[in-house]
Amino acid sequence: MKINTLLTMATSSILKNKMRTMLTMLGIVIGVGAVIVMVAVGHGAQSQIEAQIKNLGTNLIVITPGSSAAGGASQGAQTFNRLTIADADKITAESTLLSAVSPVIVTRTQVITGSGNWRTEINGVSTDYLTIRDWNVTSGALFTNDDVVANRKVAVLGSTIVKNLFPDSDPVGSQIQLGNVPFTVVGVLAPKGQTSSGVDQDDIVLVPYTTAQDRLSGFTFLGQILASAQSPTDMTAAQDEIRSIMRESHGLPNGAPDDFTVRDQTAIAQAATSTTSVMTGLLAAIASISLVVGGIGIMNIMLVSVTERTREIGIRMAIGARGSDVLTQFLVESVVMSLLGGLIGLAVGFGGAALLGHLMGWSTSTPLIAVAAAVGFSAAVGMFFGFYPARKAAALDPIQALRYE
């Protein structure tokens, strides 16, 4: 029998019992809908975290003073701050797995212009800083290596500062004061947004670390050193390398604990991603149980339908239907029913995810593979749970089926 004949036949007999069909499909609708919502929410959370990781910087490694192993309030850091420019230079010179290294000197001061002032964080960094942070300038440029070597008083402003102090003009080329030191603005940073903990990353001024040391903080020690590994696969090896360079730089004897900490923020974030992905999987698995329950509903109704339509089966067989024709007919009916339920469930799932995203402010996204899987899975459910009733129908004896009251 032709496939479109089969489909017409299946839809017409499904439509003869609209209410029952709708209730039967409801199981699949809810199952598929639930799976889609779960996957959308989970996947949304995951891609948000991934975006945050990317926002931190490319393969970011952070070296901070003080030992994390010392416990308590990291007393090492307070007793002697031992992260220096020399350490940063040694890492730059000796490492083989890093693509960029920048010392970071952190201080806070007032930015003063002719029209106003703004208290902000000043970071003294090298020219590698933007590469490490995966950051760009929208106007002007970052200071050059010459500026760093010559301790020039040049600054790059974060977008929050520009918004507050230069609301309608391009600040590049203008003079500002950081504390009481005059600086020339050479660039403006692209907006980067908040960190996952809500800190405004755009409320910042970047200056050469040499200038910061000289003119602003007066410290010779660094707040941290940032580095970028050449590739994500090198992260662990790169951190080991940094550790050994740092121990040598600090002249630590064997067995002495580190007086610095090498951290890999991406690792923390990745742990979070894998947790959400496990959660997503778990939720989707729970949701797909309802898909199975929906499938059992289909099987139940198909069994009822076979019994109810025993005489019809007898008639069809008497006029020449083969067992396989009857089998296909009932199988097509259950697959059409579950597939239709799956498609409606898909719409319900997308609607539900959008609504949830709107109400809870979650970001949701559904990967195409989940859509394909939901559709495929619901067809498979119809096939699997429709098979037994269909086979029962096909095995009927035509004479007995015709006599059935």
Binding site: M1, E312, A318, I319, G320, A321, R322, G323, S324, I399
Partner: protein, 258 residues
């Protein structure tokens, strides 16, 4: 002489009911030539339906052989018998057996959809033609519940003849119909028979049997008597007489009222 449409030799059917064996047919020999119109008669439980099921390839004999239109039915698989039914046979049942909530034309079209020989191109047109042939050209989209018993049986007959079968089998086709409608149905069978289809009708009403050319009496699973009818009645004439009588009666009734 051409090959007979039906050739039964020593056909026996035994039903196993637990310990006991029920003999529904005990050695039936029957030969039917093309173009015959046969009535099978007999009391209840004599084995008529069992015989029809075997003739209709719905059931297989326990012993004996069955040749349908020169084809050996014994030893055929389920699928082969299904195809044979579709190709050679048309069934009409006592209970009409139409698909409920399905239009007349869809019911008639159904056997064409199971065709595997590719004989039929425009199945709907053929179904319309068959319905027109049984006088239901104006009831194409009616569902069985919207048709009278006689009309339903006509739909069933249209469904049986739409595949142009060699043999039409009808098991008590008039059992659920009043006498006038029964005669109309028999008139239709006679008409189809005159057009060349071999017809076998099971009935236990002698009135109905007199429209056949040959009557086969079955008793206890055996053929008791197999005789030709000297002058079969023409059902179409009887229908006309009834109509005239009814008109006459109506006329008298009217006169009495006036």
């Amino acid at each position: 002489m051409s090959t007979p449409v039906i050739e039964l030799t020593g056909v026996t059917k035994v039903y196993q009911m637990g310990e006991t064996e029920v003999y529904a047919l005990r050695g039936v020999d029957l030969s039917v030539s093309a173009g015959e119109m046969i009535a099978v008669m007999g009391s209840s439980g004599s084995g008529k339906s069992t015989l029809m099921n075997i003739l209709g390839c719905l059931d297989v004999p326990t012993a004996g052989s069955y040749m349908l239109d020169g084809i050996r039915v014994n030893g055929m698989t389920r699928n082969e018998r299904a195809d044979l039914r579709n190709r050679k046979l048309g069934f009409v049942f006592q209970g009409f057996n139409l698909l409920p909530r399905t239009t007349a034309v869809a019911n008639v079209e159904l056997p064409l959809l199971y065709d595997r020989t590719g004989r039929f191109t425009s199945t709907r047109a053929l179904a319309v033609e068959a319905l027109t042939r049984v006088g239901l050209g104006a009831r194409l989209e009616h569902q069985p519940s919207e048709l009278s018993g006689g009309q339903q049986q006509r739909v069933a007959i249209a469904r049986a003849l739409v595949t142009q079968p060699t043999l039409l089998l009808a098991d008590e086709p008039t059992g659920n119909l009043d006498s006038k409608t029964s005669i109309e149905v028999m008139a239709l069978f006679q008409e189809l028979n005159e057009q060349g289809i071999t017809v076998i009708v099971v009935t236990h009403e002698p009135d109905i049997a007199q429209y056949a050319h040959r009557v086969v009496d079955v008793r206890d699973g055996r053929i008791l008597r197999d005789h030709a009818v000297a002058a079969p009645r023409r059902a179409a004439d009887d229908v006309r007489t009834i109509d005239t009588d009814a008109d006459g009666l109506r006329a008298t009734a009217l006169q009495e009222v006036v």
